[in-house]
Symmetry: C2
Subunit: 285 residues, 2 copies
């Protein structure tokens, strides 16, 4: 595998572009091939078997694009599919959950950590599991915040309604005495400033996207896969539906002008031979 | 087809239970078999081909349960799949969109109608199309309200935050001089009281679920399919994922105690032979 090959990043939809932003900052020479499964978003309410199947299809697509390593930029897919994919792949692959949990365990002094995420990620118990593996004394206070994603997607970021919703969700966690808060959904880092105003300086906000980009740099170095060429790479973005809506929203996530509409290509799994093959194999089994 | 057979109702998830509520009021003797496609919700961002395929699978499931007629209790599936299904079926089938649009066209005097729905339903232009077919002079003012569904699912109904969000979405429409407002998403009727406080008495709120139940009664009568037996029927609820969460939320939609957890059964299309057959047919084609 060549170090000049691109890296693959995938998410259930648009949220993973917050991970892309951190990867661009941490690894400016790496060319990124992004896949957002916008036709089948969200993964959060789907069974493990389905999420693994979808993730496998996307990984196959990325491998056809000759990626040298893969980042799962989706909390649910990281939680449910990472182990299965790792055992099947020859290229390195990491998710967002583990680096996020690790960083939170490192910064806490009170051993009281808050985790906010979608209902599905909270129900999976994955952050609690990783945090307890790191340190069994850590108390984890979890809260599903289902309104944060639509608030971000409406663009209501610095907004009085959003501030009230943040208070509604977080006041209880703050009262518990947490000193670290994991932003366990890819959309939430866009609310960092507003959340910080509510939580105050004593509570450290942990962004798994940032931690994941740091960890991924380390993984590339370790495998001699760091791109040696100094250049401004041209990233590629693929979605399974709605390229126009993706380009618009992704630009608000990444900062203006990174993604042009015509550069977002659609890959439709429903008409893909690889899916037919998957089903046929299942049938023979 | 026997008039004592059950009726089939389906939705992309839980929202269609608001239609079930209206059907129970309008047709108290009819046994309902409900299917909520909770594993693949939402349909709103999926292509027409996919929504038709999913709807076909569910209709096949309902026909195996020997239903005598079918209600599509989902705005997106009504918009995208009704015509295709109608031409294939021998039992009567209706959707929610047409009855909703018809009722709005009947109540307006100013010929200015507001439509609120999910982004996908608004983008489909289906309400505008039906309203213009009924009366080309009608002006339609549309607004996607993506926060209403998560607000309802959080249970924040009589809530100050919800009232502010309603104002944010509706103040512009009210200024345009509308005198009818279509609640074009199955979740929205749960906000009727709060929306009514904002829109005032001069704007008539149109609930397509209610209109659809009235229309469905007429369809059953016309086809001699109205149940003649006077009894309290035992309804059946099927979902494709998350029966526990469905039962809890559906009870808050329907009123307490209608659905018991153990009575919600899971039907998993991913392991269904009928899907394998569908894909095989597609491949031969």
């Amino acid at each position: 595998m060549s170090s000049s090959a691109p890296i693959g990043v995938f998410d259930s939809g648009i949220g993973g572009t917050t991970v892309v932003k951190e990867l661009m900052a941490s690894l400016p020479n790496e060319k990124i091939i992004y896949f957002g499964d916008t036709a089948r978003v969200p993964y959060g309410n789907k069974s493990a078997g389905t999420v693994i199947m979808y993730s496998r299809q996307i990984v196959r697509f990325l491998l056809e694009k000759k990626v040298k390593a893969i980042v799962i930029a989706c909390n649910t897919a990281s939680a449910l599919a990472l182990d299965a994919l790792k055992s099947e792949l020859e290229v390195p692959i990491i998710g967002v959950v583990k680096p996020g949990a690790k960083a939170a365990a490192e910064v806490t002094k009170s051993n009281k950590i808050g985790v906010i995420a979608t209902r599905a990620t909270i129900n999976s118990g994955i952050y609690k599991e990783f945090l307890h593996k790191t340190n069994p004394d850590i108390q984890v206070f979890e809260k599903a915040c289902p309104l944060f994603v639509p608030l971000v997607e409406e663009g209501w970021i610095s907004d009085d309604i959003t501030r009230q919703v943040i208070h509604r969700y977080l006041d209880d966690l703050i009262e518990q005495g947490i000193d670290a808060l994991v932003l366990g959904c890819t959309h939430y880092p866009l609310l960092t400033d507003e959340i910080g105003k509510v939580t105050g300086e004593k509570i450290k906000l942990v962004n798994p996207a940032y931690e994941c980009a740091r960890e991924f740099r380390y993984v590339l170095e370790e495998n001699d896969l760091l791109c040696q060429e100094k250049h401004i790479p041209e990233h590629e973005f693929y979605v399974s539906d709605g390229p126009k809506a993706f380009a618009e929203l992704a630009n608000s996530f990444l900062g203006e002008g990174i993604i042009k509409r015509e550069n977002v290509k659609v890959h439709n799994f429903e008409n893909d031979d690889s899916i037919l093959r998957t089903y046929e194999i299942k049938r023979r089994g």
